[in-house]
């Protein structure tokens, strides 16, 4: 009953989507948009139904049976809706539709252009809807209805992870609208600065959502996985970083298009690249080709299906691009002009993207030749580091340059002063910390150059406030603080493994750890062994309570970390499942230096992005 109702809605939704195409070809533009919106509303309804089935533990639905359990807290029953392959795909489709519908509501200047946007959006939507029905229907029926569900992986039962997938999808999928906007502009020959102004808030909001999604995932990995870090160059993480880099390049070239009406073709290419990489990310994560917490589907057919979709969408987009793109004249611009530095930004971002793409796909390509390898994080760190330095310097210079013109003398002086102060400051840090390492020095110096340029600019030492772009100031400052913190964190953090029993005290440097108590609690759907540690650092005492949980359904053991933030660092403790017949607990202690700076930098980047979405001024 439940299953057939939902299936009827999904089939109706496909029908309306087909109808929308039909009306479009019959030149009934308004009807075409209306039917698309109806289809989109139906998909939203089916998703709401799925949420209802999850929250009421209706185990006759396969997706619910496989990913839920009656003992699970209500909140996680809800989030279980998108914590699996089928449900998350439905969410994906819902968002494709939602972006289209929102666009049709907010834009009504040029009806032909609008109908083309909806046409392209509808076809991206339709192709995934068919994939859902054929290969990954969340509403498949189970007969007879099972008594109890299989449960959701406990490490996914976390408040941050409730929001991580929807935000990530709002980002990934938002770039589908960017693609539709570009294709529609190419077909109707309107790829110009007016178009860029219309597209700006849509592209920026997708970018902001993607940034938030990645940040949430990173914070989750930090406290939940218990590995002490926030980024592991895991292929799945890379899969989300690649569209982010392409999207970042895209918003910078869109800026040139918006203000100077240049770089049309390049912007269009970047839009195609960004959405293709979003799809590639979906493929890598969902096909089961990579082993990770994200790999739900182990059905190779699904992987092939997604690959075919990527191929179709990318090829058709590129064909439209070649067929419709207009010849642009060559502009003569000076090396030290804003345009040129935005070009440099694009080159660097695409270079980073290439490095990450290579590192992520190389093992997959080799596995086809029956060789099994993995790429260590040092590959990324050693290659990216030297280019990051140059990138940051270019990023400091670019924004203070003028459009089209060459550099002015007073800018040069200003920059040299900042450069000198940054070098001096990082030199002092190196001296005081006694860490005489070139990479650290360059990392600190280049990120300080960026931070200081922005701070000087804002404090109007040489500039009047008339034209300060606040969103750029916040997000670039965020990048500077982020990179600075990454370097400080990776060079000054410490980690220590030890074994301990009640009453014992362990000392590392100026920190002492004392295990005072351990007890076992029974909570809803798990048993928990809690420990009390007293930590003393420089005569300051605080407690940490890392624990081990044994979940009942599925039967699984997880470690819960305990983190104490102090002014400059985090004390981070995680314990291990003890041997049954010994009282000794294995533990790992991390002293995570300046980790706050990393989160703060990311928050600034996001804040700058949000400001830019709502920016009215050109």
């Amino acid at each position: 009953m439940a299953s057939s109702l939902a299936n009827i809605i999904l089939i109706l939704s496909i029908f309306f989507s087909f109808l929308s195409n039909l009306f479009f070809f019959k030149k009934k533009i308004k009807l075409s948009i209306h039917t698309f919106n109806w289809s989109s509303i139906l998909t939203i309804t089916s998703f709401l139904l799925l949420i209802f089935y999850f929250s009421s533990s209706n185990f006759s639905i396969s997706a619910v049976y496989e990913n839920s359990h009656t003992l699970k807290p209500f909140f996680y029953k809800l989030s279980g809706t998108w914590g699996n392959h089928e449900g998350s795909l439905l969410l994906f489709i819902l968002i494709v539709g939602l972006y289209g519908t929102l666009f049709s509501l907010f834009y009504d200047k040029n009806i032909t252009f609008k109908s083309w946007v909806i046409f392209f959006q509808n076809n991206i939507y339709l192709i995934f809807l068919i994939f859902l029905i054929v290969k990954s229907n969340p509403f498949d029926l189970i007969i007879p209805t099972p008594e109890e569900g299989l449960g959701l992986n406990p490490i996914l039962q976390d408040p941050l992870l409730v929001f991580h997938p929807p935000f990530l999808y709002l980002g990934y999928v938002g770039f589908s609208l960017t693609l539709s906007l570009v294709l529609a502009a190419l077909v109707t020959k309107q790829l110009d600065s007016t178009w860029a102004k219309i597209s700006w808030p849509w592209v920026m909001s997708s970018w902001v959502f993607l940034t938030i999604g990645i940040t949430l995932g990173s914070i989750w990995a930090y406290y939940e996985l218990g590995w002490g870090g926030y980024w592991f160059w895991d292929p799945v993480e890379n899969a989300s970083l690649m569209p982010w880099l392409a999207g970042t390049a895209l918003i910078h070239s869109l800026l040139v298009l918006k203000i100077k009406n240049k770089m049309q073709n390049w912007t269009a290419l970047l839009a195609i690249l960004t959405f293709s990489l979003s799809l590639l990310g979906t493929f890598l994560v969902r096909s089961g080709i990579l082993n990770s917490v994200h790999a739900f589907a182990n059905d190779p057919d699904r992987g092939i299906f997604i690959l075919v979709i990527i191929f179709l969408i990318t090829t058709i987009s590129l064909l439209i691009h070649t067929f419709y793109s207009s010849h642009t004249t060559n502009y003569k611009i000076s090396f030290f002009s804003k345009e040129n530095f935005l070009n440099i930004n694009n080159l660097f971002l695409l270079f980073f993207l290439f490095i990450i793409l290579l590192g992520t796909t190389y093992p997959i390509i080799l596995s086809a030749l029956n060789e099994s390898i993995s790429i260590g994080p040092d590959y990324y760190n050693t290659i990216l580091a030297p280019f990051i330095f140059i990138f940051l310097i270019a990023m400091s210079i670019g924004p203070i340059l003028k459009w089209s013109q060459s550099v002015r003398l007073k800018d040069t002086y200003f920059f040299l002063i900042v450069f000198f102060i940054a070098l001096l400051f990082s030199f002092l840090i190196i001296i005081f910390s006694k860490r005489n390492e070139l990479i650290l020095y360059l990392g600190l110096a280049s990120s300080l150059v960026l931070i200081l340029t922005i701070l000087f600019e804002v404090s109007k030492i040489r500039y009047k406030i008339h034209f300060i772009n606040l969103s750029r100031v916040f997000s670039h400052l965020g990048v500077g603080i982020f990179i600075l913190s990454v370097f400080l964190n990776s060079y000054f953090s410490k980690t220590k493994d030890f074994e301990i029993q009640i009453g014992e005290i362990k000392k590392f440097d100026n920190v002492s750890l004392n295990l005072t108590n351990q007890n076992i609690l029974k909570i809803n759907n798990y048993l928990e062994m809690r420990t009390d540690f007293e930590i003393i650092e420089n005569n300051k005492l605080f407690t940490l309570n890392p624990s081990i949980r044994r979940y009942f359904q599925p039967d699984q053991i997880t470690s819960e970390t305990s983190i104490k933030p102090t002014l400059l660092s985090n004390h981070y403790l995680v314990i291990n499942f003890p041997d049954l017949n010994s009282k000794i607990i294995g533990a790992r202690y991390y002293y995570n230096f300046f980790i706050h700076g990393i989160w703060f930098g990311l928050v600034l980047i996001i804040f700058g992005g949000i400001l830019s979405v709502f920016k009215k001024r050109v």
Binding site: L225, W227, V293, S372, I375, T382, P554, Q556, N576
Partner: protein, 147 residues
């Protein structure tokens, strides 16, 4: 040759050389940081003992796990060949006898491996893909693994 052509030629040459240098840098780094995976049988069959960091994987042999303080030793098997692994550090929660595992480290001798990392699993159903492939090769793959 006039000046314009000369200028372009120089630009072209410089770009090619830069691209080659960066390309070499990237591929060297890719090679250095590639960690190869071996099953115990693969190791038996290789003519040359790999001397860098590698990963090995298979099933943790039942009743082979021994513990002395922070030192662990256990046997990884693909039911055809096996290898003794020594590890010091924290044992991940989901690492148990009779389950699939992947460890990273260096070979001491052809049958003795010093692990620096036991790769953590995300859930109890998870079977590392490499291990699954290795077991399939020796014909010891059972359907219920990783399901």
């Amino acid at each position: 040759m006039n000046n314009k052509v000369k200028k372009r030629l120089y630009f072209f040459l410089v770009s090619i050389i830069t691209a080659l240098i960066i390309g070499k840098f990237i591929f060297d780094s890719l090679k250095v940081n590639s960690v190869y995976f071996f099953s115990p049988t693969d190791l038996k069959n290789t003519t040359e003992i790999p001397n860098g960091v590698i990963r090995i994987g298979g099933m943790v042999k039942v009743e082979s796990l021994k513990k002395k303080g922070n030192q662990y030793s256990f046997i990884v098997t693909d039911f055809k060949n096996e290898i003794l692994v020594n590890y010091s550090g924290i044992k991940p929660n989901l690492f148990e006898e009779g389950q699939g595992a992947v460890v990273e480290g260096k070979l001491n001798t052809r049958t003795n491996f010093v692990a620096t990392k036991i790769l953590a699993k995300h859930d109890e159903n998870y079977m590392p893909k490499e291990v699954a492939d290795a077991l399939k090769k020796t014909g010891n793959w059972k359907k219920n693994y990783g399901k």
